[in-house]
């Protein structure tokens, strides 16, 4: 229970359904004086969670997961940026903190289930997208150990955010109209370079000057630290070109930020590591032709319920048809049917079969940037 409306309502729904609920707020870092008030993860939010539990008549504990979180989430965040990648700490938190370390605490009190306010659904023991496509958070949950799935309850995933707020108001939860947190919980003011600076010092390569370069090798400007950039970004890229220019690659070894026009953002494939499967091997649809899913997929039209296998490379990207062309030692290479823009090392590649999450991994690299001939269609 973060103190936000989603987890508050999740708890309330479970109480209503007759579960014996214990509320737990994770303390993930020291709140200290330097952290300004914000919607999530502040002392106020802990108090909000506590009061919600009081309203619901259930026990509430604040659990100290600072060390584990620092190690598994924050340190990884910093090291990924140092490597010129763009991490998703929420994925690490779900994988290691919420659905592993917190589950151990649940074991200590004989709790059968662990519930959260995530917008995703457990259907027949399998993880699915949330009903509300605008709020779907299943993208962040690919890393959860499959063994934990049978113990997960995701009560609000079956409704829209508006419905969740309505429930909160009806029950009289004080968090009903709370502003949603958009930032990474441990990044004050939304400035992620502060954490990097704190951990690695001012002279860290990721925060040091370096060249901005075109694919031709021509240097067109200077940047103040490649950690300030991510693939597909326009902010900070020098202007004065006939077409819009984007960050297309980061080369940490030379502190170079590569920029180019839109076409150079396209990738025809990607390599994915740290792969985690949430389904048994026979359900992974490997070596099957993946069908293109268009954006109407997200609105829940029936054709999306057909068995399709897609990979989503960003939280708000449309799922894309792909074919697995290599799978060994936990590394997968996929070839995309159609080029996809801004495949970013460090982001997650999440595999879906319609609404069902099959698994995912961390994007290691894009492959074959630029246009390439379509692959032959394999027999079904």
């Amino acid at each position: 229970m973060s103190g936000g409306v989603d987890s508050s309502v999740a708890a309330a729904l479970l109480v209503e359904q007759g579960y014996d609920v214990v509320g737990a707020t994770m303390k993930l870092f020291c709140y200290g004086d330097e952290v300004p008030d914000r919607p999530c993860c502040s002392l106020d939010s802990i108090n909000d969670a506590r009061r919600v539990c009081q309203t619901l008549g259930v026990p509430h504990y604040v659990l100290n997961l600072e060390d584990a979180f620092g190690h598994d989430v924050v340190d990884d965040f910093v090291s990924e940026y140092s490597r010129g990648r763009t991490p998703i700490p929420c994925v690490r938190c779900n994988t290691f903190t919420k659905f592993r370390d917190l589950v151990r605490k649940a074991d200590a009190i004989d709790a059968r289930y662990v519930a959260t306010g995530h917008y995703a659904r457990m259907i027949d023991g399998a993880l699915h997208r949330g009903l509300d496509p605008a709020k779907d958070q299943s993208y962040f949950m690919w890393g959860i150990d499959a063994g934990v799935l049978p113990r997960m309850l995701l009560p609000v995933g079956h409704q829209t955010k508006a419905e969740t707020r309505a429930v909160a108001r009806k029950i009289g939860l004080n968090t009903a109209d709370k502003v949603e947190s958009q930032d990474i919980c441990f990044v004050p003011d939304g400035d992620h370079t502060k954490i990097i600076r704190r951990k690695l010092g001012d002279s860290a390569p990721a925060l040091s000057r370096g060249p901005i370069m075109l694919s031709s090798g021509e240097v067109i400007g200077e940047h103040e630290g490649y950690a300030r950039f991510t693939i597909g970004q326009r902010r900070g890229v020098p202007g004065g070109f006939p077409e819009a220019m984007y960050v297309v690659a980061i080369r940490p070894e030379s502190r170079t930020v590569m920029v180019g026009p839109k076409e150079e953002l396209l990738g025809r494939g990607l390599v994915v590591r740290e792969v985690n499967w949430l389904v048994a091997a026979d359900k992974r649809c490997r070596d099957r032709r993946l069908q293109t899913a268009d954006r109407s997929f997200a609105s829940g039209t029936d054709n999306a319920r057909d068995s399709t296998f897609s990979v989503q490379i960003r939280h708000h990207a449309a799922p894309a048809a792909a074919e697995v062309i290599r799978d060994q030692d936990g590394e997968i290479e996929l070839a995309l049917d159609e080029p996809v823009s801004a495949i970013t090392p460090g982001q997650s590649a999440v595999f879906y079969d319609g609404d069902r999450v099959l698994g995912g991994g961390v994007i290691e690299a894009a492959r074959d940037a630029g246009v390439r001939a379509p692959l032959p269609i394999l027999a079904a």
Binding site: L43, I46, N64, K105, A108, D110
Partner: protein, 388 residues
């Protein structure tokens, strides 16, 4: 769920019915302000004076040596900061203390150091007993004030206060002792032991939270923390909490009258508890076990491989209330600075549970606690075996 068991008396104690009874008139007809000239005031003044006398008697002190405060923390702050600040004119700058003090003392000492004090920490041994030779060496020169708690609230070890107070006196060093846990458990007599300051807290001995007292030996110069009134001889301005003072006095009298009997009872229970725990969990570590003098009611136990946070939750859900370390602002249990100071390993520090016995416990509670605790340890170890 079976009858809940409160095992956290070192954190706070229930208010005794006799104390409530003594206080009630002062929430009723006897509501006057002791500073008022009229009959309501005089009546309150008389009651306050009487309470002061009775509390002083429990401490071997004179009435004018007792100052009512809002609790132990304020009394500690008043003594340490008030005493140290008053000596700045003389050029005595250092404060000697120990790493196992309560945060109220450490916080006050830290504030003094921000104001220019030199902080000196005595060595403590693995049982949490202050190394007297270390105290001796550190208090030799330039010290304004020394502070050593009488009985440690986390591990229960009792310090050789008489020896250290005597040393301090010889060197004209003000000696403060945080008596919050000790009062009512050991004999505290200002005529026998030459401490200059002593802090006492009501809610540890059956009085309400929000009341305490500072003993300040006659003739000791002290700067007040608050400014603006003449109450408590100008040392603690603010309209006196008359009801609380009466409650504190009543609780103190009862605690002192029952002390020997109750200490004996608690010690017996504590020994049963320790015996039970060690029998069922042979590798359990009881912190401070080897100390010469220990609190009759405190057992601080670590079980290797078991984390205290999970344990406290599981115990709570079984109706048993214990504690661990001190709570941080966010409300989580932080690793104990006391255990760290006595050299306990990280693993043991992370697993420490403090059980503190008191009026709400009897032999049955001890039996059940041992049983439940042992079961939870076994389960935790079983889970750990599976996880690895």
């Amino acid at each position: 769920m079976p009858e809940p068991i409160y095992l956290d008396h070192a954190a706070t104690t229930p208010v005794r019915p006799e104390v409530v009874e003594a206080m009630t008139p002062f929430y009723g007809p006897r509501f006057g302000n002791p500073s008022s000239l009229h009959r309501w005031g005089r009546e309150a003044r008389a009651a306050l004076d009487e309470a002061r006398e009775r509390l002083a008697a429990c401490l071997g002190a004179r009435s004018d040596e007792v100052f009512f405060t809002s609790g132990g923390t304020e009394a500690d702050n008043l003594a340490i900061l008030g005493g140290w600040r008053a000596r700045q004119a003389e050029g005595r700058n250092a404060v000697v203390t120990t790493p196992i003090e309560h945060k109220a003392v450490l916080g006050a000492v830290h504030q003094a150091s921000r104001e220019g004090a030199e902080e000196r920490l005595c060595r403590v041994d693995a049982n949490g007993i202050v190394d007297v030779a270390s105290f001796d060496a550190l208090t030799k020169t330039g010290v304004a004030l020394a502070s050593v708690m009488w009985m440690n609230n986390e591990i229960g070890t009792i310090q050789p206060i008489a020896t250290m107070a005597g040393m301090a006196k010889e060197r004209d060093v003000l000696f403060h002792t945080d008596g919050v846990q000790a009062f009512g458990k050991v004999e505290i007599d200002a005529r026998k032991v030459p401490f200059d300051f002593l802090a006492v807290s009501g809610h540890k001995i059956g009085a309400p939270k929000g009341c305490g007292a500072a003993f300040v030996r006659r003739g000791t110069v002290l700067e007040s923390l608050f400014h603006g009134g003449t109450q408590e001889r100008g040392k603690r301005p603010g309209t006196e909490n008359v009801a609380a003072a009466i409650g504190l006095a009543r609780a103190a009298e009862m605690a002192c009258a029952e002390r020997e009997r109750e200490v004996s009872r608690l010690r017996g229970l504590r020994q049963e508890l320790e015996k039970g725990l060690r029998e069922k969990i042979p590798d359990a570590v009881i912190h401070g076990f080897g100390a010469a003098e220990r609190a009759p009611h405190i057992v601080n136990v670590s079980v290797p491989g078991v984390d205290s946070e999970s344990m406290l939750m599981a115990l709570d859900l079984q109706g048993i209330g214990c504690s661990a370390g001190s709570a941080c602002q966010a409300g989580t249990a932080s690793p104990s600075h006391v255990l760290t100071a006595i050299g306990a390993s990280r693993e043991l520090v992370n697993g420490a549970i403090r059980m503190s016995l008191g009026s709400l416990n009897d032999a049955k509670s001890v039996e059940r606690v041992v049983e439940v605790f042992a079961k939870l340890v076994a389960k935790s170890r079983g889970l750990a075996a599976v996880a690895s």
